[in-house]
């Protein structure tokens, strides 16, 4: 099994990644978690970044952080303080122009920067362009480069703090403090000793996620397949998936919320995740394993960091290898899948990782202050 320590050692003092409690003093620091405003926090169904931002917030509170503020849509739900300017997510209220809501939301956080000791940005690159104007340090978790071009903004801001969500999803020109893997909420996911009899492919319906390859695998294996997810690329769905969908061997059930996802995973013999581009993290992989469901994933990007090959699933390189893997699913110990997630991909492990990153940032900032006072 690979090294799956949730906090990687890149650029970080070794002591940082050792276990041990953060002092209470640090836990009194004022933390602003900046979430996107596409969806509510936590999302009703889809909303990957909002899910993670919400999990970080709740995790910090659960671990005793005393002053946490979540900047999210006004209808968001949190046990931390909620600060919001945008009523509802722009994906849930299509009268909004996303850029309008984004820039208003982000600038409101920045205007209040002085009230916080750290801003933890989970909202992509736009917040970086306000960095010159605030004194508060900012940590940006890069949840993925949606396009090569957005790297221009990151590369223009190297004097700030970055975390990657997998070792695979790094830009070689950026300074990272650590990799902190995403943590998922296990209370939403039922572990089951016994699997179902279907192949399942879920997430967001986009060519990147290889739904069309999952269909091939099902057809070649002769096993029923259930597809689920939000349609992000209608042409892809209409042209490559829809012609294969029927009421028997290949079903499509639309978008699933956490409860429906749990029911879906109950039916799963294996989850097929044949991503066609490097995966950034792969929440689906962690969720499936948490339910005890082995995953067959393309060996691209972070998949080999999230799956323990041959122990919690199979890394494959093409459809034929995936078909072969379907035949070996019974060799996977479902209990091991769950344990693997419990060890590495829980909210608590993620927040533990972030705590250490925060502590490192406070240390560096204190040193900077000393240095500039000594001048």
């Amino acid at each position: 099994m690979m090294d799956i320590n949730p906090v990687r050692k890149y650029g970080v003092n070794k002591s940082m990644v050792q276990k041990g409690n953060i002092s209470n003093g640090v836990k009194s620091k004022r933390i602003a978690i900046l979430a996107p405003v596409a969806w509510r926090c936590p999302p009703r169904a889809y909303g990957a970044w909002e899910t993670v931002a919400s999990n970080i917030t709740e995790g910090l509170v659960a671990r005793g952080w005393k002053d946490v503020t979540l900047f999210a849509t006004k209808e968001s739900i949190t046990s931390a303080k909620l600060a919001g300017f945008i009523e509802r997510g722009y994906e849930e209220d299509k009268t909004q122009i996303p850029k309008v809501s984004e820039c208003l939301h982000i600038s409101k956080v920045m205007e209040r920067a002085d009230e916080f000791d750290l801003i933890h940005n989970n909202f992509d690159y736009l917040p970086l362009t306000y960095l010159s104007f605030i004194k508060t340090p900012m940590l940006t978790t890069i949840h993925g480069f949606s396009d090569e071009d957005i790297k221009r903004v990151y590369r223009d801001h190297k004097d700030t703090y970055y975390v990657s969500i997998s070792d695979a999803d790094r830009d070689s020109e950026l300074p990272y403090l650590a990799t902190v893997y995403n943590g998922i909420d296990l209370s939403n996911i039922t572990y089951r000793d016994k699997g179902g009899d279907k192949l399942v492919c879920y997430g967001r319906i986009h060519p990147d996620k290889g739904y069309h390859l999952a269909i091939e695998v099902a057809q070649k294996s002769g096993i029923e397949l259930v597809l689920a997810g939000i349609i992000q690329d209608q042409d892809y769905f209409d042209n490559l998936l829809k012609p294969h969908i029927n009421d028997t061997s290949i079903k499509f059930i639309g978008q699933v919320n956490p409860v429906q996802r749990d029911a879906l995973l109950k039916e799963a013999y294996a989850v097929v995740h044949l991503n066609t581009i490097p995966e950034r993290f792969g929440l689906v992989l962690a969720e499936s394993m948490a339910a005890g469901v082995p995953v067959i994933a393309m060996d691209l990007g972070s998949c080999r960091e999230v799956i323990a090959d041959k122990k919690t699933g199979f890394l494959v390189n093409n459809v034929d290898e995936a078909v072969e893997a379907v035949g070996k699913i019974d060799s996977i110990d479902r209990k091991k899948c769950r344990e693997h997630v419990e060890e590495s991909f829980t909210i608590d492990r993620m927040v533990e990782g972030y705590e250490k990153v925060y502590e490192e940032i406070f240390k560096r900032e204190a040193q900077k202050q000393k240095d500039s006072a000594g001048r």
Copy 2:
């Protein structure tokens, strides 16, 4: 004829709109002109906001302003100082994500705010979200509300300076200093005493601009029509325009640069501009009249501010009235069309308008400083 003073009196001391020279002291102030980065300044062909930003910049230099900096794409051309971060316009280099180039460009201006006495924003709403972080006053010319939703940003920033480009294109909730009409570069437009024999419709091909209505007018009048412009709505072009286009009665010649536009206006008997939504300003109207070409325009939005009805063209309410107007084109004195533009819509008139607005802003800012010193 209506009052077409380029500086309106809304919220402005009356002395401000009186003629008279701006003092040399004021002309030494450091002005930053913030242009969009969709196209080069000045644009090679289409690029309405870049054209105006460029005209303001060149006009200020021509009128003796000593310290003007144009923030635009790096390949832009100006007699002022050029400051740029983005190499080429994102409409000319499609590898760029517009939002990435926009936020980088804008934040670079804001980071240098202290170097200027005034930032004149011609780049929509995003710059407003940096206002809290800069001390330099900003004047925003609202070149149009592309969507109702963008008003959220403006309405969230009422403690700044706004100019409208027509009285019609105002949001009732915003405080405006003045209306300053756009000015066009007459050196690019040849006045001709005698008109051509065609109807012309040009600008950007979008349902808002009523190209389909121009086709109806041409068909009912039995006069040849030439369509030109950048296609902004391909479906509209394909479905409503293309079926009518032929090589004889209804021609389409694509996008035109200033030289081609001049040649096009030479052929024009009248320009037909049957906008389906309120016009914000209507550069096309001013350009046509400058060439001596009467304009038939829908009486929506600013058209009645730009056209002198029955003197430089006709304001109409539907296709039938437009057809009727075609029959009366010979009653228009082409010389009057040109004179009307020379009086009201030249770069010099526009910049004169802005000079007065700038002066008013400096006065108000000085008063603010006095007030806060007196506290």
